[in-house]
C-alpha cells in the first residue's frame, strides 16, 4: 500500500517536471516511479485520515512562513553585505530544537537554516542545534521563540 502511495507521488512530480500529459508519457512516468520506489524501499507509515485537514492547513501555513523567511533572509543578509561597516558579530549559538524525533530535528534544522542570518553547523545526540549566527548577540532569544512556533506547526504535520 505505501509502495503505491510513493509511486503516485513520484508520478505527479515526474509529470510536473516533463509537463506533458500524453498517455505514453504517463506510462513511462509510472515505470520510472515504480523502479525508483523499488530502489528506495519506503518504510510503511500510518496515514490517519482524520488528521489530514489539520495537517494540510498546518503545512500550508508552514510553507507560507518559510517563504516569508526566505525573502526576509535574502534582504537581511543583502543589507549587511551592502553596509560599508559590515556590522557582523558572528558566533555559534546552541538552540534546543525541542523535537524528540529525528525527522522533526532535521526539519527544524532546515527551517532554521532558511531564516535570516542563521546556519546550522552541527546537531548533537539530544537534538540541540548548534547554529552559526551573523549577529549572535540578540538573535538567540528570537531564534528560540521562532523555533517554538515552528515546532508546534511541525508536530501538527508529522505526528
Amino acid at each position: 500500500m505505501h509502495y503505491i502511495r510513493t509511486i503516485l507521488i513520484l508520478l505527479v512530480i515526474y509529470l510536473a517536471l516533463t509537463g506533458n500529459l500524453q498517455p505514453s508519457n504517463i506510462v513511462l512516468g509510472a515505470l520510472v516511479a515504480a523502479v525508483a520506489t523499488l530502489l528506495l524501499r519506503p518504510q510503511p507509515s500510518r496515514l490517519d485520515w482524520r488528521r489530514l485537514p489539520a495537517a494540510t492547513w498546518a503545512l500550508i501555513r508552514y510553507i507560507a512562513i518559510l517563504a516569508v523567511d526566505v525573502i526576509e533572509s535574502g534582504i537581511t543578509v543583502a543589507r549587511i553585505v551592502l553596509d560599508p561597516k559590515l556590522p557582523i558579530r558572528p558566533g555559534i549559538v546552541a538552540i534546543p530544537s525541542g523535537c524528540s524525533s529525528e525527522l522533526g530535528t532535521a526539519l527544524s534544522a532546515h527551517a532554521l537554516s532558511v531564516t535570516p542570518g542563521e546556519l546550522v553547523i552541527g546537531i548533537d545526540d539530544y537534538g540541540v542545534l548548534y547554529t552559526h549566527c551573523l549577529d549572535a548577540t540578540h538573535s538567540a532569544e528570537y531564534a528560540a521563540q521562532a523555533q517554538a512556533m515552528r515546532r508546534d506547526l511541525l508536530s501538527k504535520i508529522f505526528v
Partner: protein, 113 residues
C-alpha cells in the same frame, strides 16, 4: 494580462540579478567560510528563485517544472550550506571576529573529561 505578466517577469529578472550580484559581493567582503556561506547560500538562492519565476512567466517552460525546481532549490540549498559548514567546522577552520562559540566550548569540555 500578458503585459502585466511580462512586467512582473521583468521586475523578477532585475531583482534576481541584483540579489545574485549581492551574493557574490558578500562572498568577497565577508571574512570567513561560515559568514560567506550566509551570502552564497541565502542571497544567491533567493536570486536564482526570482530568476526561475521570471523564466516560468516569460518562456514556455511550464509552471509545474518551475515550481518543482524552486522547491528542490529551497530544500537543497540550506542542506548544502549545512554540509559545507559542518565539514569546515570538523576539520577545524577557525571563525574570524567570533564573539561566542558554544560548539567549540562543548568539544573542549569533552576533550577535557
Amino acid at each position: 494580462m500578458q503585459t502585466l505578466l511580462q512586467l512582473i517577469a521583468i521586475l523578477a529578472v532585475i531583482l534576481g540579478t541584483v540579489f545574485s550580484v549581492l551574493g557574490v559581493l558578500g562572498f568577497i567582503r565577508l571574512p570567513d567560510v561560515y559568514t560567506r556561506l550566509h551570502a552564497t547560500g541565502k542571497v544567491s538562492i533567493f536570486g536564482v528563485v526570482l530568476l526561475l519565476l521570471a523564466t516560468v512567466m516569460l518562456t514556455p517552460l511550464g509552471f509545474g517544472k518551475g515550481l518543482v525546481l524552486i522547491a528542490l532549490l529551497v530544500i537543497g540549498g540550506p542542506a548544502t550550506s549545512h554540509a559545507i559548514g559542518s565539514a569546515a567546522h570538523r576539520i577545524g577552520i577557525p571563525m574570524k571576529r567570533a564573539i561566542r562559540d558554544d560548539l567549540g566550548a562543548l568539544e573542549q569540555n569533552q576533550a577535557g573529561e
